[in-house]
């Protein structure tokens, strides 16, 4: 086409037609320069106290030892504030408070317990923007995710379980569901507030009281949730939050006053917890690591599948236990899928988590960045192709990793076997459906899986043979409080969410 003729009022600067087609190369797409988005920083201001204590028996208190730790903003590497470093003494105080509160809480009419949960949910919604900003500051995840996923889902878990509080008899007809008692709950740093909600909401709905131990790099939103509990008048001791590192976690696991442990985190720590609880009579649920397969057949809607693959691995910087980190592509479409992935990767925006247009934020900690870097080095030394998003310059400070995918990966390569917990996708191939299933199941884990095909019959045939707790069909990373989540094999046991999730917090005997 010709450009505008003379006499026209000048339009915006024309984009130079430098495409490869004119220059004789192969067609390509550029996403570099035209019409850049101006910075769109989230402007909500969040107050953070210089030092924050544990929340025990309805009040914020210092550690008995007086010890403190820093929590950092991973996007800058700078400290946000200090928080109490809990030990066995603090855990003991918290468990005692929970123990005192438990009969009172369980003795409330069930409908009254439900009302408290509704109040927590509503207050979370009212303070949603503040919680989202705080989550992004402490964790490094983009504000569009904390704002659109983490916080709304966390509130949804409280709403959902509020409804169950007075209907537990219907969940288990014929039984007489009773609370278990005091629950010790240890949560990871990837979805700090959401994991707190997954743990607390069902436990409270079933009449239990809780001691929650947030991860050492992300304690702030759980403490803000404790503030909300106080604000809405939740009885003292029903929810207690003890912050700190593995020392506090271990003390909670070993405390004799705890009736149940729920842990979400690494498989390595999960195994240690399981062995230390052996013979103690405490109940246990574990939600551990994963190396989930995402299987794309040649008859899938490819552009849709690419979206699912991208959502599956780059969501939350890949810090997702159910991340679709092994992509199995049918041989016949491998090259097309790789090309489409490359194009899609080019439009991902990596950078300031508090910019509303950021798609991929900061890696949560220096330690995690080291882990990811180690795996990428292994991939390179194994001779794999490492394809990185060629996006904007990364910030100088803080912890950053460009989203990438690896081609030439074989099932025996370390990067295709071990959980990386970062924005790194291994691309593998298969020829027949049987081979897809065999390769997908060839892992010690079994948390989630994805299947992409437009053939309905094939969907159900494949889904039934995948050893995974969650199987997504033509979608990925979809969560709902009504849907149970949990793993097979080394991904743990027990389910969270839905009617199945209540089971872990009830005594049916």
């Amino acid at each position: 086409m010709t450009t505008m003729q003379e006499g026209a009022v000048g339009g915006p600067e024309r984009v130079a037609r430098t495409s490869a087609a004119g220059a004789g190369g192969s067609p390509a797409l550029e996403f570099a320069s035209a019409w850049g988005y101006a910075p769109a920083p989230e402007t909500t201001r969040v107050e953070i106290a210089p030092s924050i204590g544990h929340f025990i028996d309805g009040a914020f208190v210092e550690s008995a030892s007086g010890r403190l730790m820093d929590t950092l903003n991973p996007a800058s590497g700078k400290a946000l504030c200090q928080f109490a470093r809990g030990d066995a003494g603090d855990i003991d105080r918290a468990v005692a408070a929970a123990r005192r509160a438990q009969p009172v809480w369980a003795g409330l009419p069930a409908r009254e317990r439900g009302k408290y949960l509704y109040r927590i949910a509503r207050r979370m919604q009212e303070r949603a923007r503040e919680l989202a900003v705080l989550e992004s500051m402490d964790n490094g995840k983009p504000i569009r995710e904390s704002r659109d996923v983490d916080i709304p889902l966390a509130a949804a878990h409280f709403f959902y379980h509020a409804g169950w509080a007075d209907k537990l008899g219907y969940a288990y007809p014929g039984g007489s569901p009773k609370p278990i008692g005091v629950c010790g709950q240890i949560i990871p740093w990837n979805f700090p507030l959401l994991m707190a909600a997954w743990k607390l909401a069902p436990a409270l709905a079933c009449g239990n009281t809780c001691v929650l131990k947030p991860a050492e790099t992300t304690p702030l939103t759980a403490l803000r949730l404790a503030e909300i509990c106080a604000e809405i008048g939740l009885p003292d001791g029903v929810v207690n939050v003890v912050t700190g590192d593995g020392e506090a976690g271990a003390a909670l696991v070993e405390h004799r006053g705890v009736d149940k442990i729920a842990f979400t985190g690494s498989t390595e720590v999960g195994k240690r917890i399981a062995s230390s609880l052996a013979g103690s009579g405490k109940r246990l649920t574990l939600e551990l690591g994963g190396k989930s397969p995402n299987i794309v057949f040649e008859d899938a809607s490819l552009d849709q599948a690419i979206e699912g693959v991208v959502a599956g691995i780059y969501f939350n910087q890949g810090h997702v236990c159910c991340a679709g980190s092994r992509l199995f592509v049918q041989e016949s479409i491998h090259d097309r899928v790789v090309e489409k992935l490359r194009v899609r990767l080019a439009s991902l925006r990596v950078g300031d988590p508090l910019d509303k247009n950021t798609d991929v934020g900061a890696i949560n900690s220096a330690t995690q960045l080291e882990t990811i870097t180690r795996y990428l080095d292994a991939a390179r030394s194994d001779g794999l192709g490492v394809h990185e998003a060629k996006s904007d310059e990364l910030p100088a400070d803080g912890y950053w990793c460009r989203p990438c995918f690896l081609t030439g990966a074989q099932p025996s390569h370390t990067v295709a076997r071990e959980e990386i917990f970062g924005p790194v996708l291994s691309v593998l191939t298969f020829r027949t459906p049987d081979e897809a299933i065999a390769r997908a199941n060839n892992t010690p884990y079994g948390l989630a899986a994805g299947v992409w095909t437009d053939k309905g019959g094939k969907i159900f045939e494949i889904a039934g043979q995948l050893k995974a707790g969650v199987v997504w069909l033509n979608t990925y990373n979809r969560f709902d409080p009504a849907s149970p989540f949990g793993g097979y094999k080394e991904s743990g046991f027990g389910r969270e969410g839905g009617v199945h999730g209540l089971r872990a917090y009830l005594d049916l005997s």
């Binding site: 339009g11 984009v15 087609a21 570099a32 019409w35 101006a38």
Partner: protein, 295 residues
């Protein structure tokens, strides 16, 4: 996933300088349209004046000129009127043809319709496909008709560009939209367009449908090196919507499609809202609609 992906573009936050650049770009990509039975020559002349100079007091209010729109889009009977006003201005004359809006006419009549519009001065032809044939599965027939119209566009003395209207509101499913897009792209020349809607059927353009069509264009470019343009039309009334579409184009097809040569908006009232937002950006106040000349 297509709907989820389409919705995600609307969550981009376009502020300050990006907003100004985006709004100016949207204005320059507009096919200012009037397609009514009661269209008068005078209305078309008003539209042409607006197309050439959307806001005569732009320099006083904004400190710079607002770009002209890309084209004025009218029925064939109004082409001579538009031609007379737009000659030499750089704003192109687009005419719907081929039995718009239904396409339910014999092919010879539809081709004649096209020839006449071109003879009267149309630079661009917005044709409709024969949805009856498409929905009945007679894809070859649809493709052949598009090729014949493209042939007519090729034979004129001037360069005439073709836009193929799929009328996605009647195709209903994304599978149909994708199939019709592939078929149209196959049948037209590089630089021609595919277009969502006539504006006479609801729903007209949607983000989801446009994304599916952009993906077809992307595959044709990366696969066959054929560069095709895109025109969503109907129902895009607010400046904010137009920015959502531009975000989608930028993130699906990249830099090169951010030009009126490869992307257009078919709209009748979008222009005024773009002007309102430009004034608001500059002065902090919204002007009233009566501050802009009617078209």
């Amino acid at each position: 996933m297509a709907d989820a992906r389409a919705a995600s573009f609307a969550t981009r936050s376009i502020k300050t300088t990006a907003k100004r650049a985006g709004l100016r770009l949207a204005m320059s990509m507009m096919d200012l349209t009037t397609l009514e039975g009661k269209d008068s020559p005078e209305k078309v002349r008003s539209l042409c004046a607006k197309a050439i100079r959307p806001m005569p007091d732009d320099e006083a209010l904004l400190g710079e000129r607002v770009p002209s729109v890309a084209a004025v889009c009218v029925y064939p009977a109004m082409v001579p009127v538009a031609r007379e006003r737009l000659d030499g201005t750089g704003v192109r004359v687009a005419s719907v043809a081929t039995g718009f809006p239904s396409g339910q006419y014999p092919i010879d009549v539809r081709l004649r319709d096209t020839e006449r519009a071109i003879a009267d001065g149309a630079d661009e032809i917005d044709m409709v496909i024969h949805r009856g044939a498409f929905l009945a599965g007679r894809y070859d027939e649809v493709a052949e008709e598009i090729r014949e119209v493209a042939q007519v566009c090729d034979e004129g003395a001037r360069e005439v560009h073709l836009k193929v209207i799929l009328e996605t509101g009647e195709l209903v499913t994304y599978d149909n939209v994708r199939r019709a897009s592939d078929l149209a792209i196959e049948s037209i020349r590089p630089g021609d367009f595919i277009k969502t809607s006539t504006g006479k059927v609801s729903p007209a353009a949607t983000m989801g449908v446009t994304l599916v069509m952009l993906e077809a264009i992307r595959d044709a470019w990366l696969g066959a090196g054929k560069r095709i343009g895109m025109k969503p039309a109907g129902g895009i009334r607010s400046a904010k919507q137009s920015l959502h579409y531009l975000v989608m184009v930028k993130e699906t097809l990249g830099d090169e499609w951010l030009t009126p040569e490869l992307f257009r908006f078919g709209a009748s009232s979008l222009g005024d809202d773009v002007l309102r937002q430009l004034v608001k950006l500059e002065t902090g106040r919204y002007p009233a609609m009566h501050d802009f000349g009617q078209a």
